[in-house]
Subunit: 230 residues, 2 copies
DNA sequence: CACGGATCAATACAGTGTATCGACATGAGA
DNA sequence: TCTCATGTCGATACACTGTATTGATCCGTG
Protein backbone atom coordinates (compact mmCIF):
# COMPACT_ATOMS: atom_id res chain seq x y z
CA UNK A 1 0.00 0.00 0.00
CA UNK A 2 1.59 3.21 -1.14
CA UNK A 3 1.44 6.51 0.61
CA UNK A 4 -1.09 7.65 -1.91
CA UNK A 5 -3.52 4.98 -0.97
CA UNK A 6 -3.07 5.45 2.72
CA UNK A 7 -5.39 8.13 4.11
CA UNK A 8 -3.92 10.92 6.06
CA UNK A 9 -4.27 10.13 9.72
CA UNK A 10 -7.26 11.87 11.20
CA UNK A 11 -6.57 15.00 13.14
CA UNK A 12 -5.40 14.61 16.68
CA UNK A 13 -8.03 12.68 18.57
CA UNK A 14 -10.78 14.77 20.05
CA UNK A 15 -9.91 15.56 23.64
CA UNK A 16 -12.10 13.71 26.03
CA UNK A 17 -13.10 13.97 29.63
CA UNK A 18 -15.72 12.47 31.85
CA UNK A 19 -17.96 15.46 31.52
CA UNK A 20 -18.18 15.10 27.79
CA UNK A 21 -18.68 11.36 28.04
CA UNK A 22 -21.42 11.65 30.60
CA UNK A 23 -23.03 14.41 28.61
CA UNK A 24 -23.17 12.25 25.52
CA UNK A 25 -24.53 9.32 27.48
CA UNK A 26 -27.25 11.45 29.03
CA UNK A 27 -28.20 12.85 25.67
CA UNK A 28 -28.57 9.34 24.29
CA UNK A 29 -30.58 8.21 27.28
CA UNK A 30 -32.85 11.23 27.08
CA UNK A 31 -33.57 10.46 23.47
CA UNK A 32 -33.91 6.70 23.55
CA UNK A 33 -33.95 5.51 27.12
CA UNK A 34 -31.28 3.70 29.02
CA UNK A 35 -31.16 0.86 26.56
CA UNK A 36 -30.07 3.29 23.87
CA UNK A 37 -26.89 3.90 25.80
CA UNK A 38 -24.15 1.67 24.51
CA UNK A 39 -20.48 2.36 24.87
CA UNK A 40 -20.16 2.22 21.14
CA UNK A 41 -22.81 4.86 20.57
CA UNK A 42 -21.51 7.09 23.30
CA UNK A 43 -18.05 6.90 21.81
CA UNK A 44 -19.35 7.45 18.30
CA UNK A 45 -21.08 10.60 19.47
CA UNK A 46 -17.70 11.87 20.53
CA UNK A 47 -15.89 10.76 17.39
CA UNK A 48 -13.93 8.23 19.33
CA UNK A 49 -13.47 4.49 19.38
CA UNK A 50 -15.33 2.53 22.02
CA UNK A 51 -12.21 1.43 23.82
CA UNK A 52 -11.23 4.99 24.37
CA UNK A 53 -13.85 5.28 27.09
CA UNK A 54 -12.12 2.74 29.24
CA UNK A 55 -9.57 5.29 30.14
CA UNK A 56 -12.25 7.25 31.95
CA UNK A 57 -14.54 4.54 33.22
CA UNK A 58 -13.79 0.93 33.82
CA UNK A 59 -17.24 -0.46 33.37
CA UNK A 60 -20.57 0.50 31.97
CA UNK A 61 -22.11 0.55 35.41
CA UNK A 62 -19.70 3.26 36.35
CA UNK A 63 -20.97 5.31 33.47
CA UNK A 64 -24.47 4.94 34.85
CA UNK A 65 -23.24 6.06 38.24
CA UNK A 66 -21.76 9.15 36.67
CA UNK A 67 -24.97 9.86 34.82
CA UNK A 68 -27.01 9.66 37.99
CA UNK A 69 -24.63 11.90 39.83
CA UNK A 70 -24.72 14.42 37.05
CA UNK A 71 -28.49 14.64 37.29
CA UNK A 72 -28.33 14.94 41.06
CA UNK A 73 -26.87 18.35 40.44
CA UNK A 74 -30.20 19.44 39.00
CA UNK A 75 -31.87 18.44 42.21
CA UNK A 76 -29.93 20.64 44.57
CA UNK A 77 -31.91 23.80 45.17
CA UNK A 78 -30.27 27.16 44.70
CA UNK A 79 -30.70 28.07 48.30
CA UNK A 80 -31.95 26.10 51.22
CA UNK A 81 -35.35 27.27 52.45
CA UNK A 82 -35.58 27.82 56.15
CA UNK A 83 -38.33 25.39 56.98
CA UNK A 84 -37.25 21.76 57.20
CA UNK A 85 -40.51 20.67 55.71
CA UNK A 86 -40.24 22.96 52.75
CA UNK A 87 -36.67 21.81 52.24
CA UNK A 88 -37.53 18.13 52.09
CA UNK A 89 -40.59 18.83 50.02
CA UNK A 90 -38.56 20.79 47.58
CA UNK A 91 -35.95 18.07 47.27
CA UNK A 92 -38.63 15.49 46.61
CA UNK A 93 -40.35 17.63 44.02
CA UNK A 94 -37.11 18.48 42.29
CA UNK A 95 -36.17 14.84 42.16
CA UNK A 96 -39.49 14.10 40.56
CA UNK A 97 -39.02 16.85 38.04
CA UNK A 98 -35.57 15.58 37.18
CA UNK A 99 -37.01 12.12 36.67
CA UNK A 100 -39.65 13.51 34.36
CA UNK A 101 -36.98 15.24 32.34
CA UNK A 102 -34.74 12.18 32.34
CA UNK A 103 -37.07 9.28 32.51
CA UNK A 104 -34.26 6.76 32.52
CA UNK A 105 -33.50 8.04 35.99
CA UNK A 106 -36.41 5.99 37.24
CA UNK A 107 -34.58 2.84 36.22
CA UNK A 108 -31.55 3.81 38.23
CA UNK A 109 -33.07 5.58 41.23
CA UNK A 110 -32.39 3.69 44.38
CA UNK A 111 -30.60 0.99 42.50
CA UNK A 112 -27.20 1.85 43.87
CA UNK A 113 -25.83 3.95 46.70
CA UNK A 114 -25.18 7.44 45.41
CA UNK A 115 -21.68 8.30 46.45
CA UNK A 116 -20.75 10.83 43.83
CA UNK A 117 -20.17 14.43 44.86
CA UNK A 118 -23.63 15.59 43.91
CA UNK A 119 -25.28 12.56 45.41
CA UNK A 120 -23.52 13.21 48.67
CA UNK A 121 -24.53 16.84 48.48
CA UNK A 122 -28.16 15.87 48.09
CA UNK A 123 -27.93 13.56 51.08
CA UNK A 124 -26.24 16.33 52.98
CA UNK A 125 -29.06 18.69 52.12
CA UNK A 126 -31.64 16.22 53.36
CA UNK A 127 -29.84 15.67 56.62
CA UNK A 128 -29.06 19.32 57.08
CA UNK A 129 -32.71 20.19 56.74
CA UNK A 130 -33.49 18.23 59.87
CA UNK A 131 -30.26 18.84 61.70
CA UNK A 132 -30.84 19.68 65.31
CA UNK A 133 -34.57 19.05 65.21
CA UNK A 134 -34.27 15.60 66.68
CA UNK A 135 -31.64 13.10 67.72
CA UNK A 136 -29.48 11.90 64.89
CA UNK A 137 -31.04 8.49 64.61
CA UNK A 138 -34.49 9.95 64.26
CA UNK A 139 -33.20 12.32 61.63
CA UNK A 140 -31.66 9.48 59.66
CA UNK A 141 -34.82 7.46 59.88
CA UNK A 142 -36.81 10.44 58.69
CA UNK A 143 -34.58 11.04 55.71
CA UNK A 144 -34.62 7.38 54.79
CA UNK A 145 -38.38 7.23 55.02
CA UNK A 146 -39.03 10.29 52.94
CA UNK A 147 -36.48 9.22 50.37
CA UNK A 148 -37.90 5.73 50.19
CA UNK A 149 -41.32 7.18 49.61
CA UNK A 150 -40.47 9.44 46.78
CA UNK A 151 -38.12 6.98 45.16
CA UNK A 152 -40.91 4.46 45.05
CA UNK A 153 -43.53 6.97 44.01
CA UNK A 154 -41.44 8.31 41.17
CA UNK A 155 -40.70 4.85 39.94
CA UNK A 156 -44.33 3.93 39.87
CA UNK A 157 -45.30 7.15 38.17
CA UNK A 158 -42.81 6.67 35.38
CA UNK A 159 -43.79 3.04 35.03
CA UNK A 160 -47.42 4.01 34.55
CA UNK A 161 -46.45 6.79 32.25
CA UNK A 162 -44.58 4.37 30.05
CA UNK A 163 -47.39 1.88 30.07
CA UNK A 164 -49.79 4.57 28.95
CA UNK A 165 -47.42 5.78 26.33
CA UNK A 166 -46.82 2.27 25.04
CA UNK A 167 -50.47 1.70 24.44
CA UNK A 168 -50.71 5.28 23.29
CA UNK A 169 -53.76 6.28 25.19
CA UNK A 170 -54.99 8.74 27.73
CA UNK A 171 -54.70 8.16 31.42
CA UNK A 172 -58.24 7.14 32.03
CA UNK A 173 -58.64 4.83 29.10
CA UNK A 174 -55.71 2.88 30.33
CA UNK A 175 -57.51 0.37 32.47
CA UNK A 176 -59.99 -0.29 29.74
CA UNK A 177 -57.35 -0.73 27.09
CA UNK A 178 -54.35 -2.04 28.97
CA UNK A 179 -56.56 -4.63 28.87
CA UNK A 180 -59.12 -6.50 27.52
CA UNK A 181 -57.05 -8.37 30.03
CA UNK A 182 -57.63 -6.19 33.06
CA UNK A 183 -61.29 -5.62 32.37
CA UNK A 184 -61.80 -9.31 31.95
CA UNK A 185 -60.00 -9.94 35.20
CA UNK A 186 -62.12 -7.40 36.99
CA UNK A 187 -65.26 -8.95 35.56
CA UNK A 188 -64.42 -12.24 37.19
CA UNK A 189 -65.46 -10.69 40.46
CA UNK A 190 -62.33 -11.96 42.16
CA UNK A 191 -61.12 -8.43 42.79
CA UNK A 192 -64.08 -6.53 44.18
CA UNK A 193 -62.14 -3.81 45.97
CA UNK A 194 -60.00 -3.21 42.93
CA UNK A 195 -63.00 -3.16 40.67
CA UNK A 196 -64.64 -0.60 42.87
CA UNK A 197 -61.51 1.51 42.92
CA UNK A 198 -61.20 1.46 39.15
CA UNK A 199 -64.87 2.13 38.72
CA UNK A 200 -65.60 4.71 41.36
CA UNK A 201 -62.19 6.23 41.98
CA UNK A 202 -61.45 9.74 40.82
CA UNK A 203 -58.40 9.81 38.67
CA UNK A 204 -56.19 12.48 40.07
CA UNK A 205 -53.22 13.65 38.11
CA UNK A 206 -49.87 12.17 38.98
CA UNK A 207 -48.46 15.27 40.60
CA UNK A 208 -51.36 15.63 43.00
CA UNK A 209 -51.06 12.01 43.94
CA UNK A 210 -47.36 12.44 44.49
CA UNK A 211 -47.60 15.45 46.76
CA UNK A 212 -50.54 14.04 48.66
CA UNK A 213 -48.55 11.01 49.72
CA UNK A 214 -45.53 13.17 50.27
CA UNK A 215 -47.42 15.41 52.65
CA UNK A 216 -48.69 12.43 54.57
CA UNK A 217 -45.16 11.16 55.02
CA UNK A 218 -43.97 14.60 56.02
CA UNK A 219 -46.75 14.73 58.58
CA UNK A 220 -45.49 11.48 60.00
CA UNK A 221 -42.02 12.94 60.24
CA UNK A 222 -43.32 16.07 61.88
CA UNK A 223 -44.99 13.97 64.51
CA UNK A 224 -41.61 12.50 65.49
CA UNK A 225 -39.82 15.80 65.62
CA UNK A 226 -41.79 16.96 68.62
CA UNK A 227 -39.40 15.06 70.84
CA UNK A 228 -36.57 17.27 72.02
CA UNK A 229 -33.25 16.96 70.17
CA UNK A 230 -30.60 14.76 71.75
CA UNK B 1 -24.76 -37.07 4.55
CA UNK B 2 -26.01 -40.63 4.81
CA UNK B 3 -28.51 -41.96 7.29
CA UNK B 4 -25.68 -43.52 9.19
CA UNK B 5 -24.03 -40.22 9.86
CA UNK B 6 -27.22 -38.51 10.80
CA UNK B 7 -28.01 -38.94 14.49
CA UNK B 8 -31.32 -40.34 15.48
CA UNK B 9 -33.59 -37.43 16.36
CA UNK B 10 -33.65 -36.83 20.08
CA UNK B 11 -36.62 -38.16 21.97
CA UNK B 12 -39.83 -36.22 21.70
CA UNK B 13 -39.19 -32.69 22.87
CA UNK B 14 -39.66 -32.09 26.55
CA UNK B 15 -43.10 -30.70 27.13
CA UNK B 16 -43.03 -27.09 28.10
CA UNK B 17 -45.29 -24.60 29.74
CA UNK B 18 -45.00 -21.15 31.18
CA UNK B 19 -44.73 -22.47 34.68
CA UNK B 20 -41.64 -24.49 33.87
CA UNK B 21 -40.11 -21.64 31.94
CA UNK B 22 -40.68 -19.14 34.69
CA UNK B 23 -39.39 -21.61 37.24
CA UNK B 24 -36.16 -22.05 35.35
CA UNK B 25 -35.77 -18.31 34.92
CA UNK B 26 -36.31 -17.69 38.61
CA UNK B 27 -33.82 -20.37 39.51
CA UNK B 28 -31.23 -18.74 37.30
CA UNK B 29 -31.97 -15.31 38.70
CA UNK B 30 -31.78 -16.56 42.27
CA UNK B 31 -28.37 -18.02 41.57
CA UNK B 32 -26.78 -15.32 39.47
CA UNK B 33 -28.98 -12.26 39.49
CA UNK B 34 -31.13 -10.90 36.73
CA UNK B 35 -28.23 -10.57 34.37
CA UNK B 36 -27.74 -14.33 34.53
CA UNK B 37 -31.12 -14.80 32.92
CA UNK B 38 -30.76 -15.19 29.20
CA UNK B 39 -33.25 -16.87 26.97
CA UNK B 40 -30.57 -19.28 25.88
CA UNK B 41 -29.75 -20.34 29.41
CA UNK B 42 -33.38 -20.64 30.41
CA UNK B 43 -34.02 -22.81 27.39
CA UNK B 44 -30.92 -24.88 27.98
CA UNK B 45 -32.07 -25.56 31.51
CA UNK B 46 -35.18 -27.09 30.00
CA UNK B 47 -33.36 -29.03 27.29
CA UNK B 48 -34.88 -26.89 24.64
CA UNK B 49 -33.70 -24.53 21.96
CA UNK B 50 -33.92 -20.82 22.65
CA UNK B 51 -36.53 -20.19 19.99
CA UNK B 52 -38.86 -22.62 21.61
CA UNK B 53 -39.60 -20.07 24.31
CA UNK B 54 -41.14 -17.68 21.86
CA UNK B 55 -44.18 -19.85 21.75
CA UNK B 56 -44.86 -18.95 25.35
CA UNK B 57 -43.54 -15.44 25.61
CA UNK B 58 -42.97 -12.94 22.89
CA UNK B 59 -40.25 -10.92 24.49
CA UNK B 60 -37.79 -11.13 27.31
CA UNK B 61 -39.59 -8.39 29.18
CA UNK B 62 -42.63 -10.57 29.29
CA UNK B 63 -40.60 -13.26 30.94
CA UNK B 64 -39.61 -10.77 33.60
CA UNK B 65 -43.26 -9.88 34.07
CA UNK B 66 -44.09 -13.51 34.59
CA UNK B 67 -41.26 -13.89 37.08
CA UNK B 68 -42.48 -10.96 39.11
CA UNK B 69 -46.01 -12.24 39.11
CA UNK B 70 -44.86 -15.65 40.20
CA UNK B 71 -43.11 -14.17 43.20
CA UNK B 72 -46.15 -12.07 44.05
CA UNK B 73 -47.80 -15.34 44.96
CA UNK B 74 -45.37 -15.68 47.84
CA UNK B 75 -46.51 -12.33 49.14
CA UNK B 76 -50.17 -13.09 49.53
CA UNK B 77 -50.82 -14.07 53.12
CA UNK B 78 -52.67 -17.27 53.87
CA UNK B 79 -55.50 -15.44 55.49
CA UNK B 80 -56.23 -11.77 55.81
CA UNK B 81 -55.82 -10.49 59.35
CA UNK B 82 -58.68 -8.43 60.62
CA UNK B 83 -56.88 -5.20 61.33
CA UNK B 84 -56.19 -3.04 58.28
CA UNK B 85 -52.92 -1.97 59.76
CA UNK B 86 -51.74 -5.47 60.38
CA UNK B 87 -52.79 -6.43 56.89
CA UNK B 88 -50.80 -3.70 55.20
CA UNK B 89 -47.89 -4.28 57.51
CA UNK B 90 -47.88 -7.93 56.70
CA UNK B 91 -47.98 -7.31 52.97
CA UNK B 92 -45.07 -4.94 53.26
CA UNK B 93 -43.03 -7.33 55.34
CA UNK B 94 -43.78 -10.25 53.11
CA UNK B 95 -42.76 -8.25 50.09
CA UNK B 96 -39.52 -7.46 51.79
CA UNK B 97 -38.92 -11.08 52.63
CA UNK B 98 -39.64 -12.10 49.08
CA UNK B 99 -37.14 -9.54 47.89
CA UNK B 100 -34.53 -10.88 50.25
CA UNK B 101 -35.09 -14.37 48.93
CA UNK B 102 -35.10 -13.17 45.34
CA UNK B 103 -32.85 -10.20 45.30
CA UNK B 104 -33.38 -9.60 41.61
CA UNK B 105 -36.89 -8.59 42.55
CA UNK B 106 -35.47 -5.27 43.71
CA UNK B 107 -34.46 -4.51 40.13
CA UNK B 108 -37.96 -5.09 38.88
CA UNK B 109 -40.09 -3.80 41.74
CA UNK B 110 -42.08 -0.82 40.68
CA UNK B 111 -40.56 -0.88 37.25
CA UNK B 112 -43.76 -1.94 35.54
CA UNK B 113 -47.41 -2.10 36.40
CA UNK B 114 -48.16 -5.52 37.86
CA UNK B 115 -51.16 -6.81 35.97
CA UNK B 116 -50.67 -10.53 36.35
CA UNK B 117 -53.16 -12.54 38.37
CA UNK B 118 -51.04 -12.56 41.50
CA UNK B 119 -50.10 -8.94 41.13
CA UNK B 120 -53.75 -8.01 40.88
CA UNK B 121 -54.49 -10.19 43.89
CA UNK B 122 -51.89 -8.36 45.92
CA UNK B 123 -53.35 -5.02 44.92
CA UNK B 124 -56.77 -6.34 45.76
CA UNK B 125 -55.54 -7.36 49.19
CA UNK B 126 -54.13 -3.92 49.82
CA UNK B 127 -57.33 -2.21 48.80
CA UNK B 128 -59.53 -4.70 50.60
CA UNK B 129 -57.66 -4.06 53.82
CA UNK B 130 -58.83 -0.47 53.80
CA UNK B 131 -62.15 -0.99 52.13
CA UNK B 132 -64.90 0.94 53.85
CA UNK B 133 -62.57 2.73 56.22
CA UNK B 134 -62.50 5.88 54.14
CA UNK B 135 -63.71 7.17 50.81
CA UNK B 136 -62.24 5.36 47.86
CA UNK B 137 -59.87 8.10 46.84
CA UNK B 138 -58.35 8.25 50.27
CA UNK B 139 -57.99 4.50 50.24
CA UNK B 140 -56.22 4.58 46.91
CA UNK B 141 -53.93 7.32 48.07
CA UNK B 142 -53.13 5.33 51.18
CA UNK B 143 -52.31 2.18 49.27
CA UNK B 144 -50.16 4.08 46.83
CA UNK B 145 -48.29 5.82 49.59
CA UNK B 146 -47.56 2.70 51.58
CA UNK B 147 -46.56 0.80 48.46
CA UNK B 148 -44.30 3.59 47.30
CA UNK B 149 -42.62 3.60 50.67
CA UNK B 150 -41.82 -0.03 50.87
CA UNK B 151 -40.90 -0.31 47.22
CA UNK B 152 -38.34 2.41 47.72
CA UNK B 153 -37.16 1.08 51.04
CA UNK B 154 -36.65 -2.42 49.73
CA UNK B 155 -34.78 -1.14 46.76
CA UNK B 156 -32.44 0.86 48.89
CA UNK B 157 -31.90 -1.99 51.30
CA UNK B 158 -30.96 -4.40 48.55
CA UNK B 159 -28.76 -1.80 46.94
CA UNK B 160 -26.83 -1.33 50.15
CA UNK B 161 -26.69 -5.04 50.72
CA UNK B 162 -25.10 -5.52 47.34
CA UNK B 163 -22.65 -2.72 47.89
CA UNK B 164 -21.57 -4.28 51.15
CA UNK B 165 -21.34 -7.69 49.61
CA UNK B 166 -19.34 -6.38 46.68
CA UNK B 167 -16.70 -4.94 48.95
CA UNK B 168 -17.15 -7.94 51.17
CA UNK B 169 -17.34 -6.20 54.47
CA UNK B 170 -19.56 -5.75 57.45
CA UNK B 171 -22.27 -3.15 57.59
CA UNK B 172 -20.45 -0.67 59.71
CA UNK B 173 -17.12 -0.80 57.98
CA UNK B 174 -18.83 0.08 54.79
CA UNK B 175 -18.48 3.83 54.98
CA UNK B 176 -14.85 3.53 55.87
CA UNK B 177 -14.10 1.10 53.09
CA UNK B 178 -16.55 1.98 50.39
CA UNK B 179 -14.25 4.47 50.40
CA UNK B 180 -11.20 5.92 50.86
CA UNK B 181 -13.48 7.94 48.66
CA UNK B 182 -16.29 8.59 51.12
CA UNK B 183 -14.04 9.21 54.07
CA UNK B 184 -12.02 11.64 52.06
CA UNK B 185 -15.17 13.39 50.97
CA UNK B 186 -16.38 13.63 54.52
CA UNK B 187 -13.03 15.00 55.61
CA UNK B 188 -13.43 17.92 53.26
CA UNK B 189 -15.94 19.34 55.68
CA UNK B 190 -18.39 20.04 52.90
CA UNK B 191 -20.88 17.57 54.33
CA UNK B 192 -21.09 18.32 58.03
CA UNK B 193 -24.52 16.86 58.64
CA UNK B 194 -23.64 13.71 56.79
CA UNK B 195 -20.35 13.43 58.60
CA UNK B 196 -22.13 13.74 61.90
CA UNK B 197 -24.63 11.11 60.88
CA UNK B 198 -21.96 8.67 59.85
CA UNK B 199 -19.94 9.39 62.93
CA UNK B 200 -22.56 9.58 65.64
CA UNK B 201 -25.43 7.63 64.15
CA UNK B 202 -26.32 4.24 65.55
CA UNK B 203 -26.36 1.65 62.85
CA UNK B 204 -29.63 -0.13 63.18
CA UNK B 205 -30.20 -3.33 61.28
CA UNK B 206 -32.06 -3.10 58.03
CA UNK B 207 -35.23 -4.72 59.24
CA UNK B 208 -35.63 -2.31 62.12
CA UNK B 209 -35.08 0.61 59.84
CA UNK B 210 -37.64 -0.80 57.44
CA UNK B 211 -40.39 -1.30 59.98
CA UNK B 212 -39.69 2.00 61.67
CA UNK B 213 -40.35 3.91 58.51
CA UNK B 214 -43.25 1.62 57.71
CA UNK B 215 -44.90 2.35 61.02
CA UNK B 216 -44.48 6.06 60.48
CA UNK B 217 -46.20 5.81 57.16
CA UNK B 218 -48.95 3.66 58.62
CA UNK B 219 -49.44 6.26 61.31
CA UNK B 220 -49.90 8.84 58.62
CA UNK B 221 -52.49 6.66 56.97
CA UNK B 222 -54.27 6.10 60.26
CA UNK B 223 -54.55 9.82 60.72
CA UNK B 224 -56.51 10.09 57.47
CA UNK B 225 -58.87 7.27 58.22
CA UNK B 226 -60.53 9.15 61.02
CA UNK B 227 -62.74 10.84 58.48
CA UNK B 228 -65.97 8.97 57.94
CA UNK B 229 -66.24 6.74 54.86
CA UNK B 230 -67.97 8.17 51.84
C1' DC C 1 -52.53 -43.19 2.67
C1' DA C 2 -51.75 -38.34 1.36
C1' DC C 3 -51.80 -33.84 2.66
C1' DG C 4 -52.01 -29.26 5.43
C1' DG C 5 -50.90 -26.98 9.28
C1' DA C 6 -48.55 -26.54 13.33
C1' DT C 7 -44.28 -27.17 16.08
C1' DC C 8 -39.60 -26.99 16.74
C1' DA C 9 -34.39 -26.65 15.73
C1' DA C 10 -30.90 -24.60 13.10
C1' DT C 11 -29.05 -20.85 11.19
C1' DA C 12 -28.35 -16.08 10.84
C1' DC C 13 -27.91 -11.20 12.02
C1' DA C 14 -27.00 -7.15 14.21
C1' DG C 15 -25.55 -5.60 18.32
C1' DT C 16 -23.49 -5.81 23.10
C1' DG C 17 -19.44 -5.22 26.85
C1' DT C 18 -14.86 -5.84 27.21
C1' DA C 19 -9.65 -8.13 26.52
C1' DT C 20 -5.83 -8.04 23.79
C1' DC C 21 -2.43 -6.21 20.95
C1' DG C 22 -0.06 -3.74 17.40
C1' DA C 23 0.81 0.91 15.59
C1' DC C 24 1.94 5.35 16.42
C1' DA C 25 2.64 9.94 18.20
C1' DT C 26 4.93 12.29 21.85
C1' DG C 27 8.32 13.51 25.22
C1' DA C 28 13.03 12.59 27.23
C1' DG C 29 17.84 11.84 26.76
C1' DA C 30 22.11 11.78 23.93
C1' DT D 1 18.63 16.66 15.75
C1' DC D 2 18.18 11.98 16.15
C1' DT D 3 16.79 7.84 18.91
C1' DC D 4 14.36 5.35 21.93
C1' DA D 5 11.10 4.32 25.58
C1' DT D 6 6.28 5.24 27.11
C1' DG D 7 1.87 5.40 27.12
C1' DT D 8 -2.28 6.35 24.50
C1' DC D 9 -5.48 5.01 20.81
C1' DG D 10 -7.83 2.11 17.44
C1' DA D 11 -8.56 -2.21 15.26
C1' DT D 12 -9.51 -6.65 15.93
C1' DA D 13 -11.40 -10.38 18.42
C1' DC D 14 -14.37 -13.04 21.54
C1' DA D 15 -18.11 -14.69 23.78
C1' DC D 16 -22.63 -13.63 24.25
C1' DT D 17 -27.11 -11.36 23.75
C1' DG D 18 -32.33 -11.02 21.85
C1' DT D 19 -34.80 -12.15 18.07
C1' DA D 20 -36.21 -13.05 12.61
C1' DT D 21 -36.21 -16.34 9.28
C1' DT D 22 -36.28 -20.70 7.31
C1' DG D 23 -36.51 -25.42 6.54
C1' DA D 24 -37.46 -29.94 8.46
C1' DT D 25 -40.46 -32.92 10.94
C1' DC D 26 -44.39 -34.43 13.19
C1' DC D 27 -49.42 -34.80 14.00
C1' DG D 28 -54.24 -34.88 13.07
C1' DT D 29 -57.61 -34.81 9.39
C1' DG D 30 -59.51 -35.70 4.79
Amino acid sequence: MTVWDRPEPSARPVPLDRERIVGAAIALADEGGLEAVSLRKVAARLNAGPMRLYGYISTKEELFDLMVDEVQAEILPEEQPGDWREALRSLALRTRQAALRHQWLADLLGGRPTLGPNGLAVTEAKLAALDGLADIDTVMRAVETVSAYFTGAIRREIANLRAEHATGLSKRDWQRASGPHVTKMLDTGRFPALAKAVHDGTDVDAETSFVTGLDWVLDAVAARLTRPPA
